[in-house]
């Protein structure tokens, strides 16, 4: 027994290292939106889930999803799911984000993540990249892509919608982690 415990602890450590990357939960945070209004995760405590979307103004992949961001917001905000855009790109200014949001009719807030602090905490790497967070525990319920193709005509799996539908049905999310091609988030050095 005494011998088994250290071996088991080593095994646990190795497992922890192997699955390290996306954290299991995120702490509550506060950032300013493009109008200077402070927005915190705790503001959405009465929602069914919080969808954090790392977005960009200049990334062609993120821009390919502009209409899909709006459709998701339209479909799921009616079901009490909160949507929050986060822009962590160092080269995209608050004014540029504001103008871009107006041009594309975004109705969800977009927060400016100065010095990519939240991107670092979540280990977000690209745009678009999605984290669905529990509204009170901030556990990450889903991490990954919106769907599996930049081209709407080639979509085979609507991964984010599937995850949200399961959350709204009170079920565990079947596919919690997905990947997709996207633009690298440009961080401060």
């Amino acid at each position: 027994m005494n011998r088994a415990l250290p071996a088991f602890m080593i095994f646990l450590t190795i497992c922890t290292i192997l699955i390290a990357g996306t954290p299991e939960k995120v702490d509550n945070f506060t950032l300013n939106d493009y109008n200077g209004k402070k927005i915190s995760l705790s503001d959405f405590k009465d929602s069914k889930a919080i969808v954090l979307m790392f977005v960009a103004t200049q990334c062609p992949v993120s821009n390919a999803y502009n209409e899909r961001y709006n459709k998701l917001f339209e479909d799921y905000s009616a079901k009490n799911v909160a949507f929050v855009g986060i822009n962590s790109n160092k080269q995209e200014s608050v004014e540029e984000i504001k103008q871009h949001a107006a041009e594309h009719g975004f109705k969800f807030p977009i927060l400016k993540d100065i010095n990519n602090i939240i991107a670092d905490k979540l280990d977000a790497q690209r745009t678009p990249e999605i984290f669905v967070v529990h509204p009170t525990t901030y556990e990450i319920l889903y991490h990954g892509r919106i769907d599996d193709s930049q081209r709407e005509s080639l979509i085979k799996t609507n991964d984010l919608r599937a995850a949200l539908d399961e959350i709204l049905a009170g079920k565990p999310v079947t596919v919690k982690e997905t990947k997709a091609f996207g633009c690298t988030i440009k961080r401060v050095k």
Partner: protein, 169 residues
């Protein structure tokens, strides 16, 4: 024949030669689709060379910006094979990928993925990679991955990652 005529004839000859030679040189550059199996084989069958595998896209500005450094690596480091795999769509070869490859006079092989899904590429490469491009992977002469360079990198950074493989030999 006076001196001016000789000059004009020489210039004319050079221009004609350029018209013949340049298109032949440029037309040797091709972009083909690649399957998961073919890419796996390329990684595994190294034939003594180190592989610098760059994943890129024409829509990706930092990818385009680091291409000159990849070209320099390919030209200067003889023990290294550079391969660029684009995650654009195969139907974009003629319109987007090939014009870029020709414009840059890329000396190494450029492919575009023709996988059943993008997940197949993720399964093939480092699990730490979540899809952001550019992404560059270094494989040693046995096909074992020795480095994963996330985002845009410089000639010196590529060279350093390659030298780490060489030094471990």
């Amino acid at each position: 024949m006076n001196f001016h005529n000789l000059q004009r004839r020489t210039l004319f000859g050079v221009l004609v030669s350029l018209h013949i030679i340049l298109p032949i040189t440029l037309s040797s550059q091709t972009v083909e689709t690649i399957t998961k199996e073919s890419l796996r084989t390329m990684i595994d069958q190294r034939q003594g060379n180190i592989l610098l595998l760059n994943i890129w896209a024409t829509w990706c500005k930092p990818c385009v910006e680091e291409f000159p450094d990849l070209i320099r690596i390919s030209k200067e480091l003889k023990n290294v094979e550079v391969i660029a795999v684009s995650v654009d769509y195969p139907d974009e070869i003629e319109e987007k990928i090939l014009p870029f490859v020709k414009k840059m006079n890329v000396p190494f092989k450029v492919y575009v993925t023709d996988f059943n899904s993008q997940d197949e590429l993720f399964q093939l490469l480092d699990s730490e990679w979540s899809g952001e491009v550019p992404a560059t992977f270094v494989f040693n002469s046995n096909g074992k991955q020795t480095a994963f360079l996330r985002g845009k990198h410089s000639y010196n950074e590529f060279k350093h990652a390659i030298e780490e493989v060489t030094n471990k030999r």
